[in-house]
Symmetry: C2
Subunit: 235 residues, 2 copies
DNA sequence: GCAAAAGTGTTGTGTATACACCCATGG
DNA sequence: CCATGGGTGTATACACAACACTTTTGC
């Protein structure tokens, strides 16, 4: 059906006996109220950080290693999203995609081989990577509503306003302060440190941390690792 | 670190330059009020139906083809679950797993190379396949609560009691008839065929079908294919 | 005293749950 | 007339959205 002479045909089993497998990570952070994603330079386009898994490690471990090596980030959260099969440059590839979250200081964390890009004004990207990114953002926004992953975008101690800024940056819309604080308190995952933070000519903000034992996030979509031990909770 | 002499070491890149990729499907059906899963004979254990993807097709297409070829089922629903990396028999393998649903008649649909097993009394299974199965069942049960996938376990025309039996079989618990019917009607995805079905010494059951235009299920976890077109709905 | 962010309550509206009886039919 | 499954309504509790003002501080 396809002509194998003029260019390599990645659907020809003689040319490609098995697919290449790679792992790509969509790493988000929030800095100064803006949602950012880590992208690597790749010619004219930008691309998602990617790597190859090795036989001795799980795919999750490959994602973690990828972030540590290429991005220089100790990620706070890593979740597998989806796997796709595609042909790029006559190379049959199966790509396993991940969503990752990291805390960024005010200046943003430094990256090794990647750079932070504002999600509101993305550069040109490879079309496959662009679809992966769109899906990752869709999942991240949906999960904010029924999980506690937002905390992974914050330092260990934070104010409720800090947390609200995370929600507003990811969702790209304002949220009501009173309803927001009520729902956070009702979730029961925070405990006050006795401390406050004074940083301007206004009332100091109370600081909070996670409650120990609630670091196990209440995900409706449980992780693979936890699926055999505990069931789904209906909170 | 590992001794490569006495047995093949699947973590040695010289032995295995890249992983094998396979696709495994957890196919459920409900027959006579029992939740069943399709398993293949494999020596002493049973195993999930599996196949290899080809470069020209998507992974989803590979799953569909796998069901059509090996199982003889035209599945009604197929959803990717998770991908894992594992070593079995010194073969490094990346497995992409799928959840599938099919309608079974009263006798259950016939299978080519697989057999239906009652989920309540499963035979011995390969440990990797067992974990995949556990995860699939966990996801299926969770998704019943906020999606319409249950309809894929029914023929085109069905009674509300038929539908309730599906829910009870999958969830393995009774549900309240009035609340169930109210929530189904409120979802607005059904329309009555004018028909009824008489099949015993009792009042005949009204028959329903999907409303056209609502075959696009309201998934909180949107499929990969739809992620770039439409956002997440909050019903 | 004023600017600036922190913090706090009430009300309505919709949604989920618990619960018991009459209806139509076949035998 | 009776056994069987089909079909219906109401009261209550809880979750969520809309909405405005007082408090504490730095300058």
């Amino acid at each position: 059906m396809a002509t194998t002479d003029q260019l390599l045909d990645c659907s020809d089993p003689l040319v490609n006996p098995g697919p290449r497998v790679d792992v790509r990570v969509v790493l988000f952070t929030v800095s100064a109220g803006r949602l950012l994603v880590a992208l690597q330079e790749q010619g004219t386009c930008r691309a998602l950080p990617l790597g190859s898994p090795s036989p001795a490690e799980s795919l999750d471990a490959a994602g973690t290693r990828l972030l540590a090596d290429h991005v220089g980030i100790a990620e706070r959260y890593l979740e597998q999203l989806y796997s796709i099969s595609h042909c790029s440059e006559d190379q049959w590839t199966v790509t396993v995609t991940y969503l990752a979250l990291a805390f960024a200081g005010d200046a943003g964390p430094s990256l090794n081989t990647a750079a932070w890009c504002d999600v509101g004004s993305l550069p040109e990207m490879d079309s496959v990577d662009r679809k992966i990114f769109d899906y990752a953002l869709l999942r991240l926004r949906a999960k904010l509503g029924y999980t506690t992953i937002a905390f992974h975008l914050l330092p260990p101690s934070f104010s409720l306003s800090d947390l609200q800024i995370i929600y507003e940056a990811v969702l790209d819309r304002e949220v009501d302060k009173r309803n927001f604080r009520r729902s956070i308190h009702a979730a029961g995952v925070l405990e006050g440190t006795g401390l406050t933070r004074r940083e301007g000519s206004h009332r100091p903000a109370g600081l909070y941390r996670f409650r120990a034992g609630h670091n196990a996030e209440t995900y409706l979509t449980p992780s693979w690792a936890s699926s055999t031990e505990e069931g789904v909770r209906n909170p």
